[in-house]
Symmetry: C4
Subunit: 230 residues, 4 copies
């Protein structure tokens, strides 16, 4: 983790910052996530909401190695995915970022990671449509959660190279479950968000921690899984 980066603890909406400062912060976070083994190679996508009316998103260009991400590795796109500024092309997964931004009005930053544990667990529980996590104090690191008894339902979607089709399923689920803090794509990774970069990064930490705990618990156990479908 970069020792000297101080994430402003309350950015508020990224829209209040200028594009360059936001890109610089997201790039630092991208390099940090690579070092923490959460987004090897070209995997991982990171975005911030630059404005809401109309919706403008700052998002990683497609195909960049995340270990060397810099502020020039970001594009500004509109709500239809058209490029407004920057070089390169948005990832096909921009459709998911736009869907999250639309369905979660408070979201100022959206992060997508590919860790070993989220890959393993999302694959293993894909048939159940999701994972319920409950009973862990760490859940209180998710915004608005007040007790370890909270039951966090992480939906899992089948992975699909047709991102528009996938985005529609995500939209339906985020509409249905207004409390969800994130979701998984099977064999692929985690999406989560927060009102600013610091909160979204915290949600990644919390969810990656919980997915590791649940994976180790379940993979080590020969008993029927404790996890239950929705």
């Amino acid at each position: 983790m970069p020792r000297t980066i101080q994430f402003t603890s309350k950015l508020g909406f990224a829209s209040r910052l200028n594009r360059r400062a936001t890109a610089s912060q997201l790039a630092a976070l991208g390099r940090e996530f690579h070092r923490r083994s959460w987004a090897f190679g070209t995997s991982g996508n990171y975005s911030a909401v630059l404005s809401r009316n109309p919706l403008h998103l700052l998002i990683t260009s497609s195909g960049l190695d995340k270990s060397t991400l810099t502020e020039s590795g970001f594009l500004e796109i509109d709500g239809q995915g058209n490029i407004l500024a920057g070089k390169g092309n948005p990832s096909a997964e921009a459709a998911l970022h736009l869907t999250v931004a639309r369905m979660r009005e408070a979201a100022g930053c959206i992060l997508h990671t590919h860790s070993v544990w989220n890959t393993l667990l999302s694959e293993q529980y894909a048939d159940q449509g999701g994972i319920a996590v409950s009973g862990y104090e760490m859940l209180k690191g998710l915004e608005g959660v007040r007790s370890h008894k909270h039951r966090e339902w992480l939906p899992i979607f089948e992975n699909d190279q047709d991102l528009r089709a996938l985005a529609q399923k995500v939209e339906v689920e985020l509409e249905r479950d207004s409390a969800a803090h994130g979701f998984l794509l099977a064999g692929h990774g985690l999406y989560t968000w927060g009102e600013d970069l610091a909160q979204a990064r915290r949600h990644v930490e919390i969810l990656e921690f919980l997915l590791e705990v649940v994976s180790r618990r379940e993979l080590g156990s020969q008993q029927p899984p404790i996890l239950q479908g929705a």
Copy 2:
């Protein structure tokens, strides 16, 4: 781990130091623990005894991200949890820190971590009320332990958002077992302490190491657990 931080090896009681220097050392330790995956997000609480008569504690403010903890992230509180100096609010878990400080007169520093291994093991053995760890040379890193044959009993308490109720149970147990070097909250984390920051930090290392060893041994094994209740 911060490369350049030299923890004074014998601080003696933190009360001999001024508040600012202590906060700076605890903040460095907090960032270190985050980097070592022992306190992600806002999890983890760290305190030092500033004075004993009356009891004054320096303790982390509630809700701060531990990756960016600085000396301004600490409060001075009295034995009833009233704020004497600093910004923000003490965590509800301050009640546990105060209980430990009262029940262990030699304690100058109290640390609380949320690791994957302490979460897993505290959950798995909650029904037994604790874990006995014995037979490991690493036990000798706990103050006063002279042999690997030492049997360390780590009590496990059910997690509870009513911290006053929880603190009372902890008080009873620490009174009953004067030899305990720490305790676990089920699905939550580890509390340990030491006469100064260096010793408390060492106790975290030793206990986290032992919890990882026991977890890997038990999770990998299909035999009945070797661990026994008190």
Copy 3:
């Protein structure tokens, strides 16, 4: 990982660079791989194609500790393994590097790692002659792969101290399967390559990630392995 190293994202063929700059980049990568636990001790070999007609390879000298690799730790050899420049002797595994360089004309850089996971999995599936990996989004980090449904077949060869005999088997397999992005030596390690250093390094990350995922999935499971022979 070295914080300040910027791998030129498109080196093109290493032949376009001078030998010294290439050795410096490969040495930095070698130290990085040691830190990432992918090549402890003297294990690991790294090479870059300096020219194609005739074939000249820059390759690590034998027997060097990879944690302290510098640009003086490389030799220039010709297509028969004769030393053209540099001190020390090429590893016996130079025969494998030369074979890969000949069989993959687009390869500008060839990397060989010894990780815990690639050691474990290559040993466990040696009898099947290889491992098929499919269904993971991370596969798209391999050059030319467009879908998580891609089936990557990683051949596994029995380890052999007769590297010329081993190189012949590798040659036959790379001829037969023009799509392979790498191969394993049982109980030994991974070979992969890329058109330049950045792409080869990305392929190491992707394949090491996938081997860890598959190892954890299979070692934790008591069900018959999902993996299938060719």
Copy 4:
């Protein structure tokens, strides 16, 4: 790992260096091993042979936290364990270092680590008196080993707080098996050595790697262990 420390690749016997430079190198290695989770808290002991006739050893003082080890944390002792220079007391384990130094004339540096994997495996196979490791290319990182078919027998001794009694058992075994590169103490840790600091450090890396591979293979497996007694 310290980024800037260059271990002289061939120190030859430490006796050729002055005491201070050797202590500085061993201290850097001690901090590195702490960061790599091989010697938490006060665990771990490191020594170098300063002279052979008479035998003088530079060795860590007892009870120091290895994360902050400096050159002042070492003592010079003679072959009977008497202190010749330095502050503090030698660890009781100095008896084992002296035994290794006497039984292995080529040893210039002796290292003792307490990792999770060496703790687990030494406990699990204590009844068999040792572990045979064979079939891994990484074995060639041990001095003098030329093939992955080499069978390395790592003796395991029951842990004992009577270090003189333990040292006698070690002496008998090192006399009997002149090929051993190291040994384990059950539930305690690994001892290995090398002709200089670099070689001894490499042996730690190689053996820790192999112990992790074997532990993961055996703990994940429900089949009868492949490992065999001597």
